[in-house]
């Protein structure tokens, strides 16, 4: 297995279309981060897009590096990477930087990292590694417990930051991996029902604690222990479930985002002309990050928004094709997992900006401002390339 990469093989097998889609998305991201942060009076923040550009450069380097190395090596290293990710998450809780009430960032020689984003990738690797072990029986409950357990540890650590949206990504990815790996349908349904019941319980506790015989104190306790959410966070969920609760307060971002998207119409108002971000109705703290899609939808309209979704569809399609054509289980699962990660982020983020889903703070891959997530996504897509490039087992080359 320990063979170096060959240039010809890389060129022949790599999916240039995927690279094209990814590059297009990154460029779009930089352009609209610039547009969305132009409203900020602070000249340093106006240069946000340059930092995004720098992160993208580093990310593409990582993308290439991971693509040329056989993904099997990374899967084998999954356990170690997972361990490193957990250590970083613990460090974040201990000595991380607190911004907007949550402790998510870690200082690293002058720049800040968001370990939770790296942990997503590490979790995928270790889960794929476990599932593709020869001794793993994918039909047994035990496998599910192991995979879900592997997801639960980083999820719990992320929940303490607190960051519910990111925390929920881990179990969701775990379920997708179990699904692809052939975990029996009946057991999956059972797992799903338990999850649905849990969510239902929380939703009812949120909107009408009286129906569960809960007082306000009990409600607070449930949310602190079960979700790690601060009050403002579950208030946000309350508003999503009951939009009339507080239109100018917690529902404000959703409302403004909807106005931005809707105002875009067919062709949008033009690049840099999006009033919602320029005038600060879409707060300048979220416009280049979580709500970048609203900015794009307002400025480029339905056509631009659909084009963006098509680019993601292209990425996801390439990922699916890679999984389909993978020759081993590890490659198939890894490609599926990475594809699912991209898809889930796109779906949840866009769903959040158009009022379909609650505001959870998941970024739009490759486009939202945010260095670590850019690195993690590009690294993940590099792995995806690697699955495609190194389709045939190294021995048989």
């Amino acid at each position: 297995m320990k063979r170096g990469w060959q240039f010809g093989e890389v060129v022949r097998n790599s999916q240039w279309l995927l690279t094209g889609f990814v590059a297009a998305l990154v460029v779009i991201g930089i352009l609209f981060v610039r547009s969305a942060s132009a409203a900020r009076a602070d000249p340093v923040l106006q240069l946000l897009y340059r930092r995004q550009l720098a992160w993208a450069a580093v990310g593409f380097f990582l993308y290439g590096l991971l693509a040329v190395v056989d993904y099997r090596r990374w899967v084998e290293m999954g356990g170690g990477l997972y361990g490193v990710a957990l250590i970083l998450l613990v460090l974040t809780l201990v000595m991380g930087r607190t911004i907007y009430g949550s402790r998510r960032w870690l200082n690293f020689f002058g720049f800040t990292l968001q370990p939770s984003e790296l942990a997503k990738l590490a979790f995928l690797l270790v889960a794929v590694w476990h599932l593709s072990l020869p001794g793993t029986d994918r039909t047994r409950w035990k496998t599910a417990w192991v995979v879900l357990g592997l997801a639960a540890v980083p999820a719990a650590l992320v929940l303490r930051q607190p960051d519910l949206g990111t925390a929920l990504v881990f179990p969701t990815l775990a379920v997708v991996l179990l699904l692809i790996s052939g975990f029996p349908w009946r057991k999956l349904l059972l797992l799903g029902s338990v999850a649905v019941l849990l969510i239902l319980y929380l939703a009812v506790a949120l909107v009408g604690p009286k129906w569960l015989g809960m007082g306000e104190e009990a409600q607070q306790r449930v949310f602190r222990t079960m979700t790690g959410m601060r009050e403002y966070q579950w208030k946000r969920l309350t508003v999503f479930l009951d939009p009339s609760a507080d239109p100018s307060g917690a529902g404000y971002n959703t409302r403004q985002s909807l106005l931005a998207v809707g105002a875009g119409g067919w062709r949008g108002v033009g690049y840099g002309a999006g009033a919602q971000s320029a005038l600060g109705y879409l707060p300048s703290t979220v416009a280049p990050t979580d709500f970048i899609f609203s900015v794009i939808a307002e400025e480029t309209g339905f056509l631009g928004a659909v084009l963006l979704l098509l680019l993601y569809f292209g990425v996801v399609g390439c990922g699916w094709r890679t999984a389909w054509r993978a020759t081993d289980s590890a490659g198939r699962l890894l490609a599926s997992g990475i594809t699912a990660m991209v898809f889930l982020h796109v779906f949840i983020n866009v769903g959040m900006t158009i009022g379909l889903l609650p505001v959870t703070g998941l970024p739009l891959p490759l486009v939202s401002y945010g260095g670590t997530f850019m690195l993690a996504t590009l690294a993940g897509l590099g792995l995806l390339q690697s699955v495609g490039i190194h389709r045939k087992p190294a021995e048989r080359l």
Binding site: A41, S132, P134, T136, D137, R138, T139, V176, L179, I180, S181, G182, L258, L259, A260, V261, G262, A263, G264, G265, W266, G270, G272, A273, A275, Q276, A278, L279, G280, Y281, P283, A297, G301, F302, A305, V306, L309, Y312, F313, V316, W320, A323, W324, S329, R332, L333, S336, T339, A340, F343, F347, V350, G351, I354, L356
Partner: protein, 608 residues
């Protein structure tokens, strides 16, 4: 080896791929609904939250005298305003206020105005009206303006703003006619399409009120773009986001009065500090050349907005109720001023001749009627002309009793007594021309001969306004042509249309002989050494006049309304003056000099 085969994984992949495709389609469908189906609604809501429509006040038209001299005009008012967005600080509101505070203090010191005044303004209005400049100090003097302008570059967000302000160049002159303005109050309907409404003046009294519909301008509209915090966004900064929308306010129409500033001033000066009224008409047309009530007020003060205390002071009876337009709304007993009316009524009835003589012993007695004459020992046997000259009470009592109430009443009513003249001012009163039915209603008793005798000498229940007496004077001057007083010469609408007020004169068709006899009597009152109105004799022109001295208050209190009515030149009258002075001595002594001053002023001016 794993028990799960590659084909199971591929089946699952197909399922998961389907899920993802469905997810993308769902997002696409939602975007279609939001951006295409409901896009216009969202775009509308978005526009609404980021635009503020400001109502710009219309510019009031002018009120001018018959020569075009401005009586109510607009003058630029220099004020300092603050553009809050220039001081905007991130974070708490109080930080922005702090940032403003420093500059406020410096400007206040510079122009020498109290900073507290402006600071109060800031805390009161600024927060809710961030899209508008905050007015700090208004009505800057030229010195203050100059001092600020020298240093204006030091203050990034404080600017001079010029606004038209209503100004009455002649102060209290004709205040009751012109009226004044006050800040308009709005109905929700009027302001529905605006976020902010700038103060606008509306006529509160006089012509300003009566002709408000002509004078008030067309409002303008400015739409500004505001950011999420409500601050206006400068156009230059955000070109492309927004096409500016601005509709300039337009000026209103002008009102030209028949009033003549120089005659009005004569009238007001001639009254001095006395309480009373002077009306000057052109008897041929009814044009009101002067309409003056004293005490008066300066519309400039009232339009500025006055305190409750000041307002009450203006209503105060002890101050002579300066807001009360005596010339059109006060009714006084006309006293002997009524005698020519009785005379013409008698002559026109045919039952009394120019030569009918009556003997005056200084007192008129019949039954329980007893009326004293001004002459203690009587005037002897006299005819009408002499009776008018000396204002003999017994003569007119005799005349009145022989004619009867109805004859006198009919003539008085024909001359407009007891009815509003229809002058273009609010608040005109009809006065009172009594009859038997009225007396029964009012006092529950019948009309006695004594009442008729009293009426014949202008006492008793009769009440007339100075304007009505000027109209009566016009009829006497023109041989029975009763003009409707005309205060408005013309109205120039904002769109350029000119509406002239038509003349309106009723001819009573008096016999020339009868009329000439009365005029001769009135002329003798001026020219004869024993005439009651000899004080108004002028060297430049011939004058006919009648005095009146109407007692009021408790009997013997000595309080009289001193009246005089005069017209000139007698041969072709151009001017009629009616004057009344409260708390006077007698018509001749008190009102005489007033009328004389008006007439001599007019005729010296015109002849010289």
């Amino acid at each position: 080896m794993n028990r799960i085969s590659g084909s199971t994984e591929k089946n699952r992949l197909v399922f998961w791929g389907g899920c993802m495709v469905a997810g993308f389609l769902y997002l696409g469908a939602l975007l279609w609904r939001i951006q295409i189906v409901q896009g216009a609604t969202y775009a509308d809501d978005q526009r609404r939250q980021s635009r503020r429509a400001i109502r710009l006040s219309g510019i009031r038209g002018r009120i001018e005298d018959c020569h075009g001299v401005g009586l109510a005009v607009n003058r630029p008012d220099y004020g300092l305003v603050l553009r809050l967005e220039q001081y905007r600080q991130p974070g708490r509101w109080s930080r922005t206020i702090e940032a403003v505070g420093e500059d406020l203090k410096r400007v206040a010191a510079l122009i020498g105005r109290p900073a507290e005044e402006a600071a109060a303004q800031l805390t009161r209005v600024a927060r809710a009206r961030r899209a508008l400049p905050v007015p700090l100090w208004a009505r800057l003097t030229p010195q203050e303006t100059a001092r600020f302008l020298e240093h204006r570059f030091l203050f990034r967000g404080i600017e001079i703003e010029v606004e038209p302000r209503r100004f009455y160049p002649y102060g209290s002159l004709a205040g009751h006619v012109i009226g004044y303005v006050g800040e308009r109050e709005w109905t929700p309907e009027e302001t529905r399409t605006f976020h902010y409404v700038l103060p606008e003046m509306v006529g509160r009294a006089g012509i300003e009120r009566r002709y408000d519909e002509v004078l008030r301008g067309e409002p303008g509209r400015r739409v500004v773009l505001v950011d999420a915090a409500g601050y206006p966004v400068l156009q230059q900064e955000r070109a492309g986001l927004f096409t500016p929308s601005f509709l300039a306010p337009r000026g209103g129409g002008d009102v030209r009065l028949t009033l003549d500033v120089s005659i009005q001033r004569l009238a007001e000066e001639s009254l001095g500090n006395a309480r009373g009224a002077v009306v000057v008409l052109d008897p041929r047309t009814g044009d009101v050349l002067a309409l003056c009530s004293r005490p008066g007020f300066d519309p400039n003060h009232l339009s500025k907005g006055i305190s409750v205390g000041e307002w009450q002071a203006l209503q105060e009876a002890t101050a002579g109720r300066p807001l009360f337009p005596r010339a059109i709304a006060a009714f006084y007993p006309p006293g002997s001023l009524f005698k020519p009316v009785v005379a013409i009524a008698a002559l026109e009835s045919g039952d009394w001749s120019v030569d009918t003589a009556v003997r005056c012993d200084g007192v008129f007695e019949r039954g329980n009627i007893r009326v004293r004459c001004s002459s203690l020992h009587g005037h002897g046997t006299i005819t009408l002309e002499k009776a008018l000259e000396v204002s003999c009470n017994p003569y007119f009592c005799e005349m009145g009793l022989q004619m009867g109430l109805e004859t006198i009443r009919r003539m008085a009513a024909d001359l407009g007594i007891g009815r509003r003249t229809g002058i273009e001012l609010d608040g005109e009163q009809p006065g009172l021309l009594p009859d038997a039915a009225w007396k029964r209603r009012r006092f529950g008793e019948g009309w006695w001969e004594g009442d008729t005798a009293n009426l014949s000498i202008g006492q008793g229940f009769l009440g007339v306004t100075p304007l009505q007496m000027a109209v009566v004077g016009s009829a006497l001057a023109t041989g029975g042509r009763v003009p409707r007083p005309r205060l408005i010469r013309l109205v120039r609408r904002a769109d350029g249309r000119v509406e002239e007020t038509p003349l309106s004169v009723r001819n009573l068709g008096w016999s020339v002989a009868n009329w000439n006899a009365v005029v001769r009597g009135l002329r003798r009152a001026v020219e004869s050494p024993s005439g009651t109105a000899r004080l108004v004799r002028l060297s430049t022109t011939s004058v006919a006049a009648k005095t009146g001295t109407a007692e009021y208050g408790a009997k013997g209190s000595g309080l009289v309304y001193a009246w005089m009515m005069a017209f000139a030149p007698v041969e072709a009258p151009r001017v009629v003056v009616a004057a009344v002075v409260e708390e006077g001595e007698s018509g001749g002594q008190t009102a005489g000099p007033v009328v004389r001053r008006v007439l001599s002023g007019i005729f010296r001016e015109n002849e010289g």
